[in-house]
Symmetry: C2
């Protein structure tokens, strides 16, 4: 963005940046724009290219709400306008939060397919099971969000200790199959550190405490 | 399992092991059972405790199919019997493949919530977006499975290079938010190595080649 506007006069203009960068960079960019007498609106486009401007398209926006609303009908051509707050960083934080789920889950799917592939089975075999697993994941989220909000992570049904045994077996199975270990080891490391911090009897949402440490 | 049967006479028996371990351990256990004149059936229970013996319960089984079928009506009490092959390791490989998706995706959800939480927003804010993202993920799987099967990863719509920029920004945003970096760095590392191996212009399924070697 800085390259693009280098040497240009932007005073009085509204700049809407839909490219992705870190939240801190967006906050700096908003300050820079303000110094030039311009207003920065930060956007994060939430659908792949082929879905832009379709009904399933939506875009996170952050910055001054009155400015976002002024251009809302124009912006709606790209996708649904989802205003998430005045802090310019927010649109990118929401974007990156969603993409964290997206990139990580899809990498996990590839790893799962490789595990079954190590026994000589094709990618078609695990497809319907992977689909079922993804389609059931959001079942676990409302309670997870409550646990995070309350800071309570009751582990009666399935504890960190139980689930860490599986995380260990996945690393073991991946090692036996000579697969890359970066992803399963990262997951195992979260479980290991939760146990080390004394959360072994709590449920998996307790990993949140390791992530925010 | 070995501890459990130590000193016992198991000749002529069918042992059905529903506990989890690595595929190689299961193959060793099957050999051990055969040496004792017993038959090992390996199972992997695919639902949490509270759903066992309900309609949504299913269990992967591997080992001699005739033996699995002989006990199928008894086993169906636990959940649907899903026979996946004669290789004793398979039930555990299928189990661990599914749990790879499960544990990794849920950890990614926690990380996403922590990212948005770093701007002071509660876990309720990202919940509906996370739900939407999980519910849409399986849309990408059929084409992914085809790419893996064919070894072709055409990257017209979204390339590894484009998606790696996001993987980098997630590490950057997580660093700024002082979050644990193990998980986002593992994902970034897959993208970095795919680019280093010359797959930057292909689509994300090309990460499979990094995972299997």
């Amino acid at each position: 963005m800085f390259d693009l506007f280098d040497g240009q006069t932007v005073g009085g203009k509204v700049i809407i940046n839909l490219s992705s960068d870190t939240p801190a960079t967006m906050r700096r960019a908003a300050e820079w724009a303000a110094q030039q007498g311009a207003t920065l609106i930060v956007g994060g486009v939430m659908v792949p290219e082929e879905l832009v401007a379709t009904d399933s398209s939506y875009v996170f926006y952050s910055g001054p709400e009155t400015v976002v609303r002024r251009y809302e009908s124009m912006l709606a051509v790209i996708g649904r306008v989802d205003f998430v707050g005045e802090d310019p960083a927010l649109a990118q934080l929401f974007y990156q939060a969603q993409l964290t789920i997206f990139l990580t889950s899809l990498a996990a799917y590839l790893h799962a397919t490789a595990l079954v592939g190590s026994a000589g089975l094709g990618s078609d075999v695990i497809l319907r099971y992977a689909t079922e697993t993804f389609d059931n994941l959001s079942y676990y989220l409302p309670e997870a969000a409550e646990n995070i909000a309350s800071g309570q992570h009751p582990g009666e049904a399935a504890s960190i200790v139980m689930m860490s045994a599986t995380a260990d077996h996945i690393v073991g199975a991946s090692t036996e199959a000579k697969l890359d270990l970066a992803l399963p080891q990262a997951v195992k490391s979260l479980y290991d550190r939760a146990i080390a911090a004394g959360h072994g009897g709590e449920t998996w949402t307790s990993l949140y405490k390791v992530i925010v440490q």
